[in-house]
Amino acid sequence: MRNVRVIARLDIKNNNLIKGIHLEGLRKLGKPYDFAKKYFQSGVDEIIYMDSVASLYNRNSLNNIIEETSKNIFIPITVGGGIRSIDDANNILRSGADKIAINTGAVKNPKLLEDLSNRFGSSTIVLSVEAKKKYDGTWEAYTNNGREKTGLNVVEWCIEAEKLGVGEILLTSVDNEGTCNGFDYELTQSVSKKTFIPIIASGGMGQLSHFEKVVKLSNCDGVAIANMLHYSKTTIYEIKSYSIKCDINIRA
């Protein structure tokens, strides 16, 4: 069986770690690097930095944070927000990121996914999907922190992105994000069933049992956690000890 990754997700606005509900109503929590370092020292498997306003303003301001992080934190760092071109991606990788996550840029120009995968390798490219459930039970992909509709069906979009060469999907439920009510298990299941690349479930974890449920029900490969870690409602150690008790394969 696969080994599941515990991933700390840090959403960033103007150099601050922020946290909202449904990706909106943002609160400042502190310096992203300080949080990342704490998680690294306590054994987190991976870090995701998401610049939450980069897409709106067509810029990426994360370089300094990435640099500081990669000087002292030796686990994979994925960075997303505002990546529109090969040059943007190269810039972020040269700052010290290991993978890049892309949403708006890919929706506007799906071929970019192919170009990025060819240039940097599939395993460097993560498709970031912000999913909202529709009345008919399907999900629509959004951009700009769940604000803008794309008209894309999430499952179909993920299948297409896999064909274009992405190596991984960060799947965020906008409906559940920040609510602490649990993941959108159906969403994660639906994408996982139709794709053959690793899926990271994101949005909604409020208790340890949610972690177990999403891993066991949806066959996801990683779980992104924000709220519970940033507000110290749990620790990496607690999550991992719990997972081992539940027979989930995990790096202890």
């Binding site: 002292n72 030796f74 290991d98 060819n118 599939s122 690793p198 790096r251």
Partner: protein
């Protein structure tokens, strides 16, 4: 010690490797200049990317000769992930492509050897199984976890070249190869926490 040359072939996370070396106090230079590579006693062939693209880049910038010369002179070379796979004779990634042929064997898809296909790339932290005694593993505790991300794997012809492996679905996947002054790591020591950094220390000190 002289600067360590990190061969730049225009692909993935090269800066991470440089930062890891500098954290340990080693100077390095990211370069695609064959002359700098030839002058370096330690050469790192990093790697996240596709095999054919990487080989054609190495060819275009006259880096294949520089790497061969490095090995012939007895200088140490360390291939990481794709960099390790490039050391082999052939790869089946996309199309059958000739590699650097410094170690006998080829590169195949992980799913070529599994009965039940797994999701690729295989991404995650795994423990090494069998490890032969080697200076490369000095001070590295048994039972440590290392970060892997790959879809293709090395298939060595000569069992003696394999220093360690790891398991996915009970299938053995080569994790470390070593032949004289040539070393390859399938996992990413730069992404494998403090324990991973020890591989760089051992490589730099050897």
């Amino acid at each position: 010690m002289k600067e360590i040359a990190i061969v730049d072939y225009n692909l993935g996370n090269i800066t991470s490797i440089r930062r890891a070396l500098s954290f340990l106090g080693y100077k390095s230079i990211i370069t695609n200049n064959p002359e700098i590579i030839l002058k370096s006693e330690k050469v790192i062939l990093p790697g996240v990317g596709a095999f054919p693209t990487a080989m054609s880049y190495l060819k275009k910038y006259d880096l294949i000769e520089a790497i061969n010369e490095t090995v012939k002179k007895g200088n140490d070379i360390l291939g990481i992930c794709l960099g390790m796979q490039l050391l082999m004779q052939f790869s089946n990634e996309f199309e059958r492509t000739k590699g650097l042929s410094l170690i006998e064997g080829d590169v195949i898809s992980i799913n070529d050897i599994l009965d039940d296909n797994i999701k690729l790339p295989c991404i995650g932290w795994y423990k090494l199984n069998k490890t032969k005694d080697n200076t490369l593993l000095k001070n590295i505790k048994k039972d440590q976890w290392f970060y892997f991300v790959h879809s293709y794997m090395v298939n060595c012809r000569n069992e003696n070249d394999v220093i360690a492996d790891y398991s996915v679905n009970d299938i053995s996947i080569t994790a470390i190869v070593k032949k004289n002054n040539i070393t390859g790591l399938q996992f990413h020591p730069e992404n494998s926490g403090i324990e991973g950094l020890k591989f760089f220390t051992n490589f730099c000190k050897s």
